[in-house]
């Protein structure tokens, strides 16, 4: 950009800055709400299953079946129900099914009446696992737990019988998040999603506001080029959003104890590119929307769902169909999520994310160019 333009851009930047500072209430909201959000959601959004309520229906009542029931009860996650309504009576299958319907339990474990006999005769027997499938994710996890308990129980049986010696030795190591806390997954994700939405919202009103108050006419007739106006309206918010980002990151680091294993500088560099893409998106919306309300609504719909769904925030991208996978390449959060999780939790470095960084820059440029074009066209139409 030729240096002569810088003075003019500066004028817009200064004006826009005044606008930000003159509205302290909105500014506080921009800084406080993300913290409250991370605070509440950081604790609440979690996949970790702390407790599985299950009913065990032991129809065999043999020492073996009691040992099996005990194996479930001994697991710290399972809370086993086996008492019926009447005192001293065991829970019936019908009662257990009703409990399942009422969501009091997640699973019914049915040990068949002929367990011991069949095991002796054929060497194997099936255990019925009736799982509430309505929450797919939970159902899957419950089943995984069952399998693990059965596997251990089987190993014990085989070892005692001395038949197969030992089964295959499987050794699982979990890296970066040894306690498998889903907070490690969600909190950096929340940081990314919130940062994008804030950035986009900040700029989404900058032009639509002028349109609603009519002051856009002044911009139209100013000697500034459209490109300069768009850039001038974006720059001040970079500072606001970056500060906001630092704020959120510090909160995640010190409140939730999310480790920062990589370089803060690298993270901030990428955050800057990411914020730029959000601001660019906002300004494009702002040039297109007739009113502030429409601009806000559009910004939220455009940023919220794709950042939630098509970025890997909640659902892994690798599982998506090719079409959706292709769309995910246009979502800035896709790249930043990879970066932030990598840098924060794995200590990844700059060189790991050259592609992601490049894509963020490319996205920002495309969005800014589109906004400039749109603004320019409106300007020509107005004159």
């Amino acid at each position: 950009m030729p240096s002569a333009n810088m003075g003019r851009i500066k004028a817009i930047i200064v004006k826009e800055f005044f606008h930000i500072l003159r509205d302290p209430r909105s500014l506080t909201m921009v800084f406080i709400t993300p913290l409250v959000m991370i605070f509440i959601l950081g604790y609440s959004v979690s996949y970790d299953l702390n407790r599985i309520d299950a009913a065990v229906i032991d129809l065999d009542q043999s020492p073996l079946s009691k040992r099996l029931a005990q194996a479930f009860a001994a697991n710290r996650v399972f809370v086993v129900h086996n008492r019926g309504d009447a005192p001293g009576r065991m829970l019936s299958l019908g009662e257990a099914e009703e409990m399942l319907r009422r969501r009091e339990i997640k699973e019914i474990i049915v040990i068949p009446a002929d367990l011991s006999r069949r095991l002796a005769a054929r060497g194997s027997c099936e255990i019925g696992l009736i799982i509430d499938g309505s929450e797919t994710n939970v159902a899957n996890l419950v089943y995984q737990y069952d399998e693990r308990i059965l596997l251990e129980f089987n190993s014990g049986l085989l070892a005692a019988g001395g038949t197969a010696g030992r089964l295959l030795r499987l050794d699982t190591k979990i890296y970066f998040n040894p306690e498998v806390r889903s907070q490690f997954f969600f909190i950096p994700g929340l940081v990314a999603v919130i940062l994008l939405m804030i950035s986009a919202m900040l700029t989404s009103l900058s032009i639509s506001r002028e349109r609603e108050t009519g002051s856009i006419a002044l911009l139209f007739i100013s000697p500034l080029r459209s490109r300069e106006i768009i850039i001038g309206k974006t720059i001040p918010y970079i500072i606001v959003a970056l500060l906001d980002g630092v704020f959120i990151l510090l909160f995640a680091r010190f409140w939730f104890g999310i480790p920062l294993r990589g370089s803060l500088l690298v993270l901030l560099l990428f955050a800057l590119l990411y914020i730029l893409s959000g601001l660019a998106l906002g300004i494009l919306i702002s040039t297109s929307a007739p009113t502030q309300r429409t601009a806000m609504l559009a910004t939220l719909l455009i940023t919220m769902l794709p950042s939630f769904l098509l970025s890997g925030f909640i659902f892994p991208l690798d599982s998506l169909s090719p079409v959706l996978r292709a769309i995910s390449y246009a979502v800035p959060a896709t790249y930043f999520l990879r970066i932030i999780r990598g840098v924060i939790l794995k200590g990844a470095e700059l060189k790991h994310f050259l592609f992601e960084g490049g894509m963020l820059v490319a996205l920002s440029l495309v969005l800014l160019a589109a906004a400039t074009r749109k603004f320019n066209r409106q300007r020509k139409a107005a004159q």
Binding site: R25, S44, G133, T136, N137, A139, T172, R293, L320
Partner: protein, 367 residues
């Protein structure tokens, strides 16, 4: 009668904004379809790396099974030792599977190799599920192997999934989308409505008119409720027809719950509208509330996981109850006996919100 004109005016205003119409009626359909597809894709194609250092046949056979499985996507394979952590760090793979020959105490080769799984624990959910898949492959291999020798594993779990036999996650999430849509549209439409009148200077005329406070309040809420219901019907149709999710329960209770919910959410939105000074603030506040409502509703992650200290926030979240009721009705076809408590809680929240917001509204108007 006066109310009729107020509602008519609100509806005309909305229809005059093409962008708003698009956001209200077209974008929900797009959203549901995308959401539906994203959600219905269960975890598959988990990217893994395989390092096979074993000379035995068993390892090669297991690797072959992993390669063929649609659950895994083998991104790199090696027969030499390497920096196992590098691909994990880079995010290229979610897990590294390392096969080594296993020796017993007498240093003779065992039949089965030793398998090490190095997992990226960040996406704990995907990792756990992927580990489950891998365990399954190994278990099946051993089972097949034992069967050849005429033996079986002693106890095998045979799972039956109630209410959703194929564990289609869309069945679980889909109905929730309807509640989500109802919220997003009505909230954004309503929370800026008073501020807007203030900004375009029409509020005074409205206040000086012969409309009573209650009439203005209801007149602001009803058009949004109407649009919310239309959106809900659109959502239901897409969910049932496009995604083929069975609707097993009573439509009457579904709409009853939706109406109670609408009262709560509209009262809340009008409260935002009263408390905000500018459109920007109103929208910002609506966004904030929406994120909290949505992420604490059990829509994505179970409500049970919310820690006790924050349970209160979840307990007053109206969306939580609506989603619960919708799921009960949709998937299980349960009658009122199974969710009357939730409906009652929702009604209590609605009554409280309406009272608070009406009180604030009155104070706002008689400034």
């Amino acid at each position: 009668m006066k109310l009729f004109y107020l509602i008519k005016k609100e509806l005309i205003e909305i229809t005059r904004q093409k962008e708003l119409l698009f956001l209200m009626f077209v974008s929900p359909v797009i959203q549901i379809v995308i959401l539906g597809y994203v959600i219905s894709t269960d975890i598959r194609h988990v990217p893994v790396g395989i390092v096979n250092l074993s000379q035995g046949q068993a390892a090669e056979r297991i690797v072959e099974r992993v390669r063929r499985s649609p659950l895994f996507d083998v991104r790199l394979e090696s027969r030499h030792g390497m920096d196992y952590l590098y691909p994990l760090k880079k995010g290229e793979v979610k897990a590294m599977l390392v096969f080594r020959d296993a020796l017993d105490r007498r240093r003779s080769l065992l039949k089965y190799p030793e398998v090490q799984v190095l997992m990226d624990g960040i996406d704990s959910n995907t990792s756990m599920i992927a580990a489950g898949y891998f365990n399954g492959i190994i278990k099946q291999y051993i089972l097949d192997d034992m069967e050849k020798l005429g033996r079986g594993v002693p106890l095998a779990g045979r799972p039956v999934f109630r209410f959703n036999p194929q564990l289609r996650s869309i069945n679980y999430m889909g109905p929730g989308i309807v509640g989500f849509l109802l919220t997003i549209i009505t909230m954004f439409l309503t929370s800026a409505s008073l501020v807007r009148e203030k900004e375009q200077q029409t509020l005074d005329t409205l206040l000086i008119s012969r409309l009573s406070t209650l009439e203005i309040y209801v007149g602001k809420a009803l058009p949004s409720a109407l649009i919310g219901l239309v959106d809900m019907v659109i959502g239901l149709l897409v969910v049932v027809l496009w995604f083929d999710i069975p609707f097993r329960g009573s439509l009457f209770y579904l709409f009853l719950a939706a109406l109670v919910y609408l009262a709560a959410i509209l009262a809340y939105s009008l409260l935002i509208s009263v408390l905000s000074a500018t459109t920007q603030q109103a929208m910002f506040f609506a966004w904030f509330s929406l994120m909290i409502f949505l992420l604490m509703s059990g829509f994505f992650t179970p409500v049970e996981n919310i820690p006790p200290a924050l349970r209160l926030v979840a307990d007053v979240n109206p969306l939580r109850y609506l989603i619960k009721i919708i799921r009960e009705i949709f998937l299980k076809g349960n009658g009122i006996a199974y969710f009357w408590k939730d409906l009652l809680a929702l009604a209590a929240i609605a009554v409280t919100l309406v009272s608070i917001s009406l009180l604030n509204f009155k104070r706002f108007i008689s400034k």
